[in-house]
């Protein structure tokens, strides 16, 4: 045990990494979430009512001039929620039946629920303070939160989980299956004979890629059908965009697996590494379970480096929010770049040399 360093590393270092990651990094809390403020009534009392939103470390107010602007911000994912103070707010406070409109992003139902309680808490505690100061208002001043959730009105967690699951399945099928391919050929010695033939390294990579791409496409079709008909998740964005993005991500996953396989040349190490570098991060760091806005900068930087993160955000919004072509093009561009880099990196691992 003591002499076997690699086992010792897995036994001791992995738990440490997980403890730190979960303890400090990952949580279901919401922190510094941007909230669009639409002040249709800009009176002192209205401003005071929403002042609590800026007063906590959880929420960051972003001022929007009009509701239309705020809605755009929500759709583009720049804000998590919209708080709108209606024109008649001041008048109705006196009457004791004031309302504040809250629109939440339902793509992440966990975050939405948390946000709702934060915003509600911030407004009601601000109003409570005001009432304590001015006893004449006692009895009135109640503010009701009229809340709506966009993109996932019912707040079904399946709506939010299923698109993410597609990303997970593409990761698993891709990286896991292919991680064994080249390593197996190294172990069995088949590559040595294969190298001394006219075959080119790039041909080898593509020959390994194509069959698994087909398997991946079948999986993708199954996922999409299940999402639509089994779980009844709405597909609000362009189906074409979903398919293109998924294929791109599938190719990146497959190539990542092949690359790991080519570098390790050992099936056991390759499968461990594929788990550690593709599946685990895709599960924990891509925004599938944990909201990336809540994590420390270091973890966020790591998360942003993962292809899974870019795909996860894109596929969720394509399913539930609609097609934001700029976002789709940007994320597909990132995935494409990963694909090209990995393709050439994998080719290098098969450059027909044994030393």
């Amino acid at each position: 045990m003591l002499r076997d360093r690699s086992n010792l590393m897995v036994g001791l270092l992995l738990p440490i990494a997980l403890i730190l990651l979960f303890g400090y990094g990952l949580s279901f809390d919401v922190r510094n979430a941007p909230v669009a403020l639409v002040m249709d009534d800009n009176s002192a009392i209205a401003r005071e009512a929403v002042s609590g939103i800026g007063g906590s470390e959880y929420l960051v107010p972003v001022h929007a001039a009009t509701m239309i602007e705020a809605e755009e911000m929500l759709r583009a994912g720049r804000v998590e929620a919209i708080v709108r103070v209606p024109v008649d707010f001041t008048r109705r406070v006196a009457a004791g039946d004031a309302r504040v409109q809250l629109i939440l992003n339902g793509l992440d139902s966990t975050t939405a629920t948390t946000m709702e309680s934060y915003v509600g808490g911030a407004i009601s505690s601000a109003m409570q303070r005001r009432m304590d100061r001015s006893p004449e208002m006692r009895g009135g001043g109640r503010v009701e939160l009229s809340q709506r959730t966009w993109f996932n009105e019912a707040g079904y967690s399946t709506w939010y989980l299923v698109p993410g699951l597609i990303a997970l399945i593409m990761t698993l099928v891709g990286a896991f299956l292919t991680s064994l391919l080249i390593a197996r050929e190294w172990e069995r010695g088949t590559l040595e004979a294969l190298f001394v033939t006219p075959v080119r390294p790039l041909e080898l990579v593509l020959a390994k890629l194509v069959p698994y791409m087909i398997v991946g496409i079948i999986d993708l079709v199954m996922c999409l059908l299940a999402a639509r008909y089994l779980f009844e998740v709405p597909i609000r964005g362009s189906l074409l965009a979903i398919v293109v993005a998924s294929l791109l991500y599938l190719a990146v996953s497959l190539l990542l697996g092949l690359f790991i396989s080519g570098v390790t040349r050992n099936q056991f190490a390759a499968s461990q590494l594929a788990l550690l570098l593709s599946f685990m991060p895709a599960l924990m760091l891509s925004g599938f379970v944990f909201d990336l806005r809540n994590v420390p900068v270091v973890v966020r930087v790591v998360a942003q480096a993962l292809p899974a993160t870019h795909f996860m955000g894109m596929i969720k919004s394509l399913f539930l929010a609609g097609t934001d072509w700029i976002m789709v093009l940007r994320n597909c561009g990132i995935l494409g770049a990963y694909g090209v880099i990995l393709l050439f990196a994998t080719r290098r691992t098969l450059r027909k040399r044994l030393d």
Partner: protein, 593 residues
């Protein structure tokens, strides 16, 4: 095309690797040669000589550190792909796709080499006929026997006619019958297609068939020439000595090989001892060594020249790291009563089945105390299964099995304490030190406290092992020695050795057998499997197995006589003819039934 060029030219070639302990190891050290086209050329050398490294460099799979290497007129370093497109290369471990059928493997390689469909049909049928694989085209390659796999590997390598064929130890680990078949196929192709072939091998009889032979050892080119030229080096130095009545050839051989200044090499053969006199010493010096043995001069063989070259090289290099001569002091070995002749292993109608498959059928034999008993057979013959049953590692399906007077079917644990076992693969803990390994095994055999300490100390001294060395970093010969030390630490009555000499060089093999001879003299019974047929000559008695059946049992001389090839036949040929006769009879039986 290549007519005016040499097919391979190497100048000052060097390649070093990082050894396991971090130091640089010269795999190929300043090697220059030129190979003319249209020839059959052999690189011979013991394991670790650098043959595979050299082959891989020729195939463009490894880049030389220094020097130039041109293959078919192309600089391999600059344009490996050009070379790889024109040659065919069969690596030592030819990677067949085991899940693919024989036909699919052939198709794959034909695709890779871009063989046209018209050529394909003709070529395939010819290759399949030559390799005898016609009936098995649909069988998955993983289900073929070792010899058939190797033939399929050769067929895949030859799906087209290359400008140059490189074969890296094509016959390693292949039984004598398949080995002969492989060379028949090769000879036929060379004759009919005028192939240029470069082959590496550890077998001298294979080198003997080649036009040019290069002798490699520890990365250096020791000699080159035709087999006849090389044989000339040992001319007049080789003899056979008949031991006097009552003396075992092995004992005479031990005496001769111990006289390292005067004798370059000695091996038992055909009941006598074949030896090479050192060039420096005269015939007259040998009298005291031989006692009453009758000495006759013999024509030199390639093997003699090879052994002479190896000895000179090792002596010149001043290191014998690869071939540790085990310090054998018979007195320090545990003395067992040599009451001679009582049976320590008794096997009666032993059967082992795996499902429908009969791995060992109705096998009966005895092994007597102090005997060296050899178990020989092709791959898949049932040697290993028999062996495992004898060691109590595998229960028998039926039959009687007494080891050291204990019935193995009822009291396995009791028998185990009296036997030592050395597995084929190095099965000690690589990252433990030598002492830790010995202590571990001593503990596993039930030694405790002071007895354990004393026994480990004695064993370290007896086997000349460095207690603090890391086991995994030892040279192969020393690893083998450590494995044997671990098997002997509890002073067993019987020592089982499974393929102990595979993968170690000839000098280390001599040293190993010298130690076995000493053990036997001390009364330890030794049961050994080997695929080196000539090593059967060290044994008192041997058993030949094929397809689970015991085909021959007796002293090496009796077995040779049974083969009917006369007294002079070597063990290799005797083995082939016994197995072939049995297989022919077996087929007749099946045809009759």
């Amino acid at each position: 095309m290549t007519g005016s060029f040499a097919s391979i030219v190497s100048e000052g070639l060097r390649k070093a690797f990082e050894a396991a302990d971090g130091s640089a190891l010269d795999a190929i050290d300043d090697v220059s040669f030129s190979i003319p086209p249209g020839t059959l050329t052999a690189f011979v050398g013991p394991d670790g000589a650098g043959k595979t490294t050299l082959m891989r460099m020729m195939a463009g799979l490894l880049t030389p550190d220094v020097g130039s290497l041109r293959v078919l007129g192309v600089d391999v370093r600059r344009d490996p792909q050009e070379v790889q497109s024109r040659i065919s290369y069969m690596p030592q471990r030819f990677g067949l796709y085991e899940d693919l059928s024989v036909q699919e493997n052939l198709d794959l390689y034909a695709d890779l080499h871009g063989v046209t469909p018209e050529d394909r049909a003709r070529r395939f049928s010819r290759l399949l006929r030559m390799t005898g694989l016609e009936r098995f085209t649909r069988r998955p390659a993983g289900n073929l026997s070792g010899g058939m796999k190797q033939k399929l590997g050769l067929a895949c390598t030859l799906v087209r006619v290359p400008d140059l064929l490189l074969l890296d130890e094509p016959s390693v680990g292949v039984d004598p019958l398949s080995r002969r078949d492989l060379w028949r196929i090769l000879a036929q192709l060379i004759e009919e297609e005028g192939l240029s072939v470069v082959v590496s091998t550890a077998y001298m009889d294979e080198a003997e068939r080649c036009e040019q032979v290069f002798v490699l050892n520890q990365g250096r080119l020791l000699a080159q020439g035709t087999p006849r030229e090389l044989r000339g080096r040992a001319e007049g130095l080789t003899y056979v000595a008949e031991p006097r009545e009552g003396m075992h050839a092995r004992e005479l051989q031990a005496r001769l090989i111990d006289a390292r200044e005067r004798i370059a090499d000695a091996v038992p053969r055909g009941g006598a001892v074949r030896f090479i006199r050192s060039p420096e010493s005269g015939d007259a010096d040998l009298g005291d060594l031989l006692h009453d043995a009758i000495m006759r001069e013999q024509p030199a063989e390639l093997e003699d020249a090879f052994m002479l070259l190896l000895r000179e090289h090792v002596a010149g290099a001043g290191s014998d790291a690869g071939s540790p001569a085990l310090a054998v002091d018979d007195g320090s070995l545990p003395r067992h009563a040599r009451d001679g002749g009582d049976t320590v292993i008794r096997v009666r109608e032993l059967v082992r089945k795996f499902g429908d498959f009969t791995a060992v059928a109705n096998t009966s034999f005895d092994v007597r105390r102090g005997e060296i008993f050899g178990l020989l057979g092709p791959n898949g013959a049932g040697k290993t299964t028999t062996f495992r049953m004898l060691c109590g590692l595998l229960p028998a399906t039926s039959g009687e099995l007494d080891v050291a007077g204990v019935n193995l079917r009822t009291a396995r644990a009791a028998a185990r304490a009296r036997i030592g076992y050395v597995a084929q693969r190095f099965s000690l803990y690589s990252n433990l030190s030598v002492r830790e390994n010995l202590e571990f095994f001593a503990g596993a055999y039930g030694l405790r406290g002071r007895t354990l300490k004393r026994r480990v100390g004695e064993t370290l001294e007896r086997f000349g092992l460095d207690p603090s060395a890391t086991s995994g970093l030892l040279p192969l010969g020393y690893k083998q020695r450590l494995a044997m030390a671990a098997g002997l630490i509890h002073e067993p009555d019987i020592l089982f050795l499974d393929e102990p000499t595979s993968g170690i060089d000839p000098l280390a093999r001599r040293a190993f057998w010298r130690a076995i001879t000493a053990l036997s003299q001390a009364g330890v019974t030794v049961v050994v499997t080997t695929h080196f047929m000539e090593e059967a000559e060290y044994c008192d008695r041997i058993a030949i197995q094929d397809a689970g059946r015991l085909l021959a049992l007796g002293t090496p001389r009796e077995v040779r006589e049974r083969a009917g090839d006369g007294e002079e036949a070597d063990m290799n040929r005797a083995f082939i003819s016994i197995v072939e006769q049995a297989r022919a009879n077996g087929n007749d039986d099946r045809a009759a039934a």
